[in-house]
Symmetry: C2
Subunit: 192 residues, 2 copies
DNA sequence: CATTTCACTGACTCCAAACTCATTGACTTT
DNA sequence: AAAGTCAATGAGTTTGGAGTCAGTGAAATG
C-alpha cells in the first residue's frame, strides 16, 4: 500500500517528465529547467529533488520515450501485413510523437551519449519489423536486389529528411501532409 | 593601394573565420568564442572588434561557406556527364567539407534563421545540377516515373542520414567509406 | 498527541559565456 | 617628426543558466 507521500512524489515526477516532454518538443533541448518548472507550476528547486542534473532528467525522459514509442510500433506491426500498411503504421506512430521525435533526430548529436542508445533502440525495432515484412516471400519477389540496410536506410533517410527540413515542406505536420506521397513513391523506388 | 593596417585587419578577420570553421567543425556550434580566440592565438576581445556578436560571426562564416561549396559544385558539374559521375562529384565535394557540413545539417535547427537560407541555397544548387543530369534524354528513359523532388530528396535524405548518424557507420569519414555503395544502390533504386 | 520525516519551496551561490572598454603602441597622415 | 588613428589587448562587467540548502508544513509514525 502506497502512502500519500509516495503517490504525491510519483505524480510530481511524472508531471516534470510530461512537462519536460512538452517543453522540449516545442522549444528544443536548449530549453531551461526554469522554463520547465514554470510550465509545470513547480518551483525550480523541485526539479532537482527528483533529478540530480538536467542531463539525468533528459536521459530518464528519453528512456521513457523509447519504451513508449517502441511499444506502439510493436502494437501496430501486425503479422502478415503488406509493406504499404506497415509504412503507414510507422508514420502514424511518428505523427503521434512528431514534434518531440523531430527534436530528437535533429539534436541527437548535442544530446548526452545515452540519447544515442535510445535512438539506436528505436531504429532497431523499426528495422526488425520492416525486415519481417520484406523478408516474406510474396513481398520478396517484387523487391529489387538491394541490401536490406539500404532499403531501411533510404526509408528512414527520406522520413528524417522531411522531418528535419520540415520548414521547407509544411507549416504544421510534415508527415500528415506528405505521408501518402512518401509511402507511394518509396514503394515505387524499391519495387522492381 | 592597401595600407598595412587594412591588410592586417583583413588577415585577422580571415584568421578568425578560418579558425571558427575548424573549431565548429570539430566541436560543433556550441563551441565558445573563447575556444576560437585561443585556437587563433588572439585575445578574446579581438573577435568582437571584427564581429559585433557571435551570431554575426556564424552568419558571416556560413555565407562564406555557402559561396565556397556552391562554387565547387559548379566547377565539378560538367556538361553531359553521367548520373553516376555527377553523384560521385557531389560526394567528393562533400567529403572535402565533411566535418563542417555534418555539423551544419545536424545543428541547422538551433542555428540562426540565416543558416537556413544558406542551407536552402546549397541544396538548390545541387538540385539544379541533378535536374539537368536527369532531364537529359538518354538518362530520362531509364529512370522511373517518380517526381523529381522525390528523386532529389531521397538522394539527399540518404546522404544526410549517413552523415548525421555517422557514429553508426564509420570511425572516420562515412562518405569515403560508403560512397560507392551509396551511389550504386541509389542508382539501382531510381532506375527502372 | 508528540515527534519525526520528507516533498516542496525560493532565495541563494557558482560558473561560464558573451560582450565592453580604457589602454597601448605600431602605423598613417600632414 | 609630431599628431592622430586604430587594431589588438585583457581585465573587467553583465547575464542567465544549473545546482544548493535552510526552512516549512503536511503526512507518517509510535
Amino acid at each position: 500500500m502506497k502512502t500519500k507521500r509516495q503517490i504525491q512524489k510519483e505524480a510530481t515526477r511524472k508531471l516534470i517528465l510530461d512537462t519536460a516532454y512538452q517543453v522540449y518538443a516545442s522549444e528544443g533541448f536548449s530549453a531551461t529547467t526554469n522554463q520547465i518548472a514554470r510550465a509545470a507550476n513547480l518551483s525550480h528547486g523541485t526539479i532537482f529533488v527528483h533529478f540530480p542534473t538536467v542531463e539525468n532528467l533528459i536521459i530518464c525522459l528519453l528512456e521513457r520515450f523509447g519504451l513508449e514509442i517502441n511499444a506502439q510500433f510493436h502494437l501496430l506491426a501486425e503479422k502478415d501485413e503488406s509493406l504499404e500498411t506497415f509504412l503507414a503504421a510507422h508514420i502514424s506512430v511518428l505523427i503521434r510523437y512528431e514534434d518531440f521525435y523531430k527534436r530528437l533526430i535533429s539534436e541527437i548529436n548535442v544530446l548526452p551519449q545515452e540519447a544515442k542508445y535510445v535512438f539506436i533502440n528505436i531504429q532497431s525495432v523499426v528495422s526488425f519489423h520492416l525486415n519481417q515484412v520484406i523478408e516474406r516471400d510474396q513481398e520478396k519477389e517484387t523487391i529489387k536486389e538491394i541490401p536490406m540496410h539500404i532499403v531501411f536506410n533510404s526509408w528512414l533517410g527520406l522520413i528524417h529528411y522531411y522531418l528535419t527540413n520540415s520548414y521547407l515542406f509544411a507549416a504544421g505536420s510534415v508527415l500528415t501532409d506528405h505521408k501518402d506521397e512518401l509511402i507511394l513513391n518509396y514503394i515505387k523506388l524499391i519495387r522492381k
